[in-house]
């Protein structure tokens, strides 16, 4: 198990924003993963998508890594930010943009509706 743990640690250390998801950013294979992809694309945030469906050990390992039972999972600067509900809530309140800019991650400013 530690091998997968190290792999996860390595990915989130080397990439500012990482989305562990079902499918790929171009082809999400789950509604919840697709919602987070839409939010990140809307904000213009560069991120690395990791398809957990391609690796069964990763799919379970990521849940143990954060003690979070579902996918997708978003990481910013190595820190777990949340799953679909939390990211959507943070996006709607503008908190996600603030969190990204505080973390020094370039994000296009969304049009405030």
């Amino acid at each position: 198990m530690s091998n997968i743990h190290d792999q996860i640690q390595d990915v989130i250390a080397k990439n500012d924003v990482v989305l562990f998801m079902k499918g790929t950013p171009q082809m999400p294979q789950c509604g919840f993963s697709g919602q987070v992809v839409q939010i990140l694309d809307y904000l213009g945030v560069p991120y690395k998508g990791v398809n957990v469906l391609a690796d069964g050990e990763l799919r379970e390992g990521i849940k143990a890594f954060t003690n979070w039972p579902t996918i997708p999972q978003l990481y910013v600067k190595g820190e777990f930010v949340g799953g679909c509900d939390i990211i959507r809530e943070m996006f709607q309140s503008g908190e996600l943009s603030d969190h990204l800019s505080k973390a020094g991650v370039p994000a296009a400013q969304p049009a405030r509706g």
């Binding site: 003690n67 979070w68 039972p69 949340g82 799953g83 509900d85 939390i86 943070m90």
Partner: protein
């Protein structure tokens, strides 16, 4: 396999006795729910920590038998 709303509520209340729980079956299939949970246990905790408390109460059902639970968690006003 699916889960009854009453079972979800029972599990949450067994871990968070003061919790007020509202559950909505989103798809009628016992697999996709939305839940609003209000409990003093959430005060001062981040959203991730609040949701982890609820997931812990569901004793591993979340992500397995229970595919989707759209969660909203709040401390009492």
């Amino acid at each position: 396999m699916a889960m009854e709303a009453a079972e979800i509520e029972r599990l949450i209340k067994s871990a968070l006795p003061d919790a007020k729980v509202q559950i909505q079956d989103l798809a009628g299939d016992g697999d996709h729910y939305a839940a609003t949970v209000v409990s003093e246990a959430f005060r001062g905790k981040s959203r991730v920590q609040q949701h982890q408390l609820v997931y812990g109460a569901l004793k591993g059902q979340m992500g397995g038998v229970l595919h989707a639970l759209a969660l909203t968690t709040l401390p009492p006003e």
